[in-house]
């Protein structure tokens, strides 16, 4: 019940295209959904996050879409650039449990020039 399932495992997108990564969760008590971006040899870095009381959040070229009834959320990267090539992780947590994160399995994104 605490799993977060992420797809696809890997994604290849042409420069300028839209990258879409999907996550599904089971526990409806999760109340915080961040996305992390990780470059090789580095720690994950917070990219964007959302609470379940909104359906969409946009920061620059990055958008989270949240579907509470379907228990799904997704990351959209508009106008994808080669510099976006990285591994992306979705996660979920309970606010009242010290923010412990449950991570998805990760998506390796490659943006071709």
């Amino acid at each position: 019940q605490q799993q977060v399932k992420q797809s696809p495992q890997s994604l290849i997108v042409q420069k300028g295209g839209i990258s879409i990564i999907n996550c599904a969760y089971e526990n409806t008590a999760f109340d915080y959904f961040p996305w992390y971006q990780q470059f090789p040899g580095k720690g994950p870095a917070l990219l964007i996050a959302i609470r379940p009381d909104v359906s969409e959040k946009k920061e620059g070229r990055f958008t989270i879409s949240f579907n509470k009834s379907a228990k799904q959320f997704s990351l959209h990267i508009m106008d994808s650039q080669p510099g976006d090539s990285a591994t992306y992780f979705c996660a979920a947590s309970f606010h009242n449990q010290g923010g412990k994160l449950i991570f998805g399995q990760g998506t390796e994104l490659s943006v071709k020039p």
Binding site: Y36, G43, P44, G98, G99, L101, I102, Q105
Partner: protein
Amino acid sequence: DAGITQSPRHKVTETGTPVTLRCHQTENHRYMYWYRQDPGHGLRLIHYSYGVKDTDKGEVSDGYSVSRSKTEDFLLTLESATSSQTSVYFCAISESSSLGETQYFGPGTRLLVL
């Protein structure tokens, strides 16, 4: 990087030897976490701490212990390393934000157990 350092950054050890990894933070955060990262599994929580001497288990705590005697340091110990503990280990702290407890990660320690 939220003032988080990890040491060592790389370590090679042999099966059966004890190993201690250190996480150090400079900003007095209450919560600290240890995760391991393995291909196909994302990051999984090993242990976390919610204050000095206050720690609790995560989802993959078997074979690991932790200690926090000072706010700034959180130690992860593998009492007797096994090859299955070859992984990349990340420390994190959490910081309150308008959305909730946001976690920031250190640079990681790459551990190879032969």
